[in-house]
Amino acid sequence: MPAITLTVNGRRHSIEVPTEMPLLWALRDIINLTGTKFGCGIGACGACTVHLDGQPVRSCGLPVGQVGTRRITTIEGLAPDGGHALQRAWVAEDVPQCGYCQAGQLMSAAALLAKTPRPTDADIDTAMAGNLCRCGTYPRIRRAIHRAARGE
C-alpha cells in the first residue's frame, strides 16, 4: 500500500491504508482523532462532519484517496482551546444532552457562519438539515448559532 498524506488540523500525517477507506475511519482508527463521530456511515446523520478547505463534508462517505491536498479540519482543530464563538455559544446555551452529535453540528454551523455571518432561521434550517440530533437539542442549537452570530 502506498502511503497517503493527509493534512489534519495543520499537521501532516502519512498513513498506509487502502485508498477506499473512508476518511472517518482513517481519522478515528488510524490517526486516533476520535472527536469526529460515527453515526450512520451513509451520509444520513452528519455526526462525521469535517471541513475540507473550509467546506463541510461527511467524512464517512469520502475515501481517503480522494482527499488529495485539501486541508482537513476536525472538531479538535476548530479552535484547539475551545474558543471558537460557536463553542462558547454552545456552552453558554447548554446545548449538549448526550453530546454525541455535537461535533458534527458544530462543524456544520462553523461552515455556515464562515459563509453567512448573520444567518436567518431559514439559513440555519438549510445548513443544518443534514445533522440529526437524536436527543432533540435543536432549539438550543439554533439559539447558540444566533448567539455566536451576534458575537456574544
Binding site: M21, F38, G39, C98
Partner: protein, 723 residues
Amino acid sequence: MSAPIERRTFIVAGLTAAGGLLLTVRLKADAGLRSQDAAEALGAFVRIDTNGVVTVMAKNPEIGTGVKTSLPMIIAEELDADWGKVLVEQAPLDTRYGDQFTGGSTGVWQNWDLLRRVGATARAMLLSAAAVRLRVEPSSLRTEAGFVIHPPTGRRLGYGELAADAAKAPAPTDVPLKRSSEYRIVGKPIGGVDNPAIVRGAVAYGLDVRFPGMLFAAIARPPFGAALRRYDAAAALAVPGVKQVIRVPGAANRSLMQEGVAVLAENTWAAFRGREALVVEWDETASAGESTPAIREKALQLLARPGTLIRSDGDVAAGLSGAAKVLEADYEVPFLAHVPMEPVNCTAWVRNGACTVHGPMQNPDGVRSIAAEATGIPPERVTVLMARSGGGFGRRLQSEYGGEAAFLSKVAAAPVQMVRSREDDLRHDLYRPAGIHRFRGGLDAGGRVVAWSHRLANTSRYAYAGRNNPERSELYKDDPPAALVPNFRLEYANIPTAIPTGAWRATLHSANAFAVQGFLDELAHAAGKDPLAFRLDLLGGDRDLPYSDHGGPVLSTARLKGVLRLAAARAGWDRPPPSGVGRGIAAHFTFSGYVGVVAEVSVANGAIRVRRLVAAVDCGLVVNPSGAEGQVQGAMLDATQAALYGEINVERGRVVEGNLGQYRLLRMSEIPELGVHFVAGPHPPTGLGEPAVSPVAPAIANAVFALTGRRLRRLPFRLGAVG
C-alpha cells in the same frame, strides 16, 4: 424514599493522599441479609483537597439525561461549595456506591436524600474544624461558596485550609439539611459539566475507548429465531486488516447473548468489510414466519377472546349494557427502535484471569454479570468503566453487548471493541413491543364514563427475557382511568415471538398513553364535552390514588389536574386556535412525574405538521432548570418523531428498515415551537428523562381530530390510513 436510605447508610471521613478530607459513605447491609459487620465502605463521594478544590464523584452513568451534573449539584449545595471550584469525575462501577443505574428516571429522586446528607456532613465537619481553629462556637459560624465565615470578626477560612483538620474528626451522624429557600446551586440553571470538553471533541464516548493492540469486531447476526448452519471465513480473512473470525455461541437465555459470527480486524472499516465478505448460512426454519403482519394477525386473534385479567372493578358487562352510549376502537402500535446516536458498542480486555469492560451503558451491574457469565471470570474480577454514552433511551439497559465484547476479547486474546454498524444497531435492537389495544367505553346520559374495558395483545418484553408474568411489563393496572370509572376491566394477552423486545424510553407508557388518552378523547367528543373539562371531571376531587407501577406508590389527582390546567392556560386553550390549526390535549403520570401537553397541528398535502407543543411538568423541585428544560424538550421531540415516523417492520425474521434514510428522525426544520412550564410545588425532586414522552403522541392525535375530524388510531400517524 428517604426512610430506607436513612436506615441503610452512614457517612465516614478519612484522609486523602495529600492530607485533605475524603468523605465516604458506608452502606449498612440489610439487617435480615447480612450482619452489620459486613457493612461495606462506599467509595469516596467527596474529596476536598488542601488547595480548596472539591471533587465530587458522579455515581451513575451519563447517557444524556444530565445526572453527571445534577447529582453533584445536590452534594455541592449542601456542602455550600463554590460550584466554579467543583470538579466532577465519573465513578467506576463499585458496589460501594450503591445502585449505579440510569433508567426509569430514578437518578435524582433515589439519590436526593443520600447526596444531600453527604454534602451536609462534609460541611458540618468543616464547620467544626473552623470552630476549633478560631476558638468560637460552631453556631457563630456560617458557610458560603467554599468558605467558613465568622461574621462578628469577618474572619474567613477556605475549605482547603480546613480539609486536613476536618478529616481527623469522625463524621457526625445527624446533620441539619438546608431549607429549599436557602439553595444557591440547586434550582439554578447550570450547564452540563462535560460541555467544555464535548465542544472540543475531547470527551471519550464508548467508541472512543482505545486499548493498546485493540481489535475491532463486527458480528454477523441471524434473522430473529434463526440458527447458524455453517460459515466460511476464507473470504473475510482475505480482506486486508482482518485478523480473526470467531463464532459467538448463543446463551440459553437469548436476551443475554445471541449466536453470531464475529470478524475481528485492525480497524472498524476492515471489520465491517470483512463481515460483508463473510459467508454465513442460517437455518431459517424457525425465523421464516416472523413478520409484523403475522404479529398483527395474531393480536387480532387473541383480542377476540378474554385475556389474563389484570384488574376488574365493578361489572364492565353490566356497565356497558346499561350505558347510554358505547364506543369501541382498536389502537395499534408498531415495534420501535431506540437508535441511540452512538450505535451500540463495547470494549473489553480479558487478561490474567481478569476482565475490564469499558463502554457506554445504563446498567453497569448488568454489564458486569453478563461479562462474567460470557467469560467464566468471577464478577469480582470484572472491572466496569462507564464511558459517556451517546444516548440510551432504554437500549443500554440490556447489557448483552458487554458480554459479546468480553467473550471476543477472551477468545481473541486481545482487547476488543465490538462495534455495531447503524444497520446492526437498527436491525438487532430490542424493540418497544408491538401490539393492538382494544377498548370499549360506555357513557351515561350525562356524558360520564361508566364502563371501560381495555384489552391489550402485544409482544411482551418480559416474555422475551424469559421472565414470568408477561403482562407486568406491558399493562399497568393503576393507570388512569383505573379507579376513576366504576366498571373497569383490564386484560392482557402475550404474542409469543422471537423478535426481541426491551424497554424503550418511558417503557410502555409511551405507547399505552397514546391509546388510552386517544380513546378518552373519543369519549369526550362523544359526550359532547370539552376534552380538558372532560378530563378534569373524570379525575374528580383532589386525592391520592394507589399507584403500584413506575413512580408510585400514589398518584395525586390534584397534581395531574394541575398540569392539565397549566398546559391549557399556557397554550391559550380558552381561545380558539388560529384558522387551519387544531389543538389537542393529553396528560400522563409516570416515574413520579406529571406532564400535561397541548399540541397544535396543521395539515398540508396530507402531512401533519406539529406546530407547537406546550408542556406543563410537575416533577417536584427542579434541581437544574437548564437540564430539566432540555430533557422535556428532548422528550417531546423524541415522542414527536416516534409518532410521525417511528416504525420497525419485520419480514421473514429480518428488519426491513436498514439505516437512518428509512428510519426517520426529526430534522431541525421540522421541529415545533416548544413551551416548557414547571409547576412550582413543595414536592421533592423526581426524574425527567422520561415523563414528558408519553402525553405527546395522543395530544398530537387529538389535535388532528379537532382539526380534521379524523381519528388517528395507529402509530406512526398516516393521514391516508386513518383507522
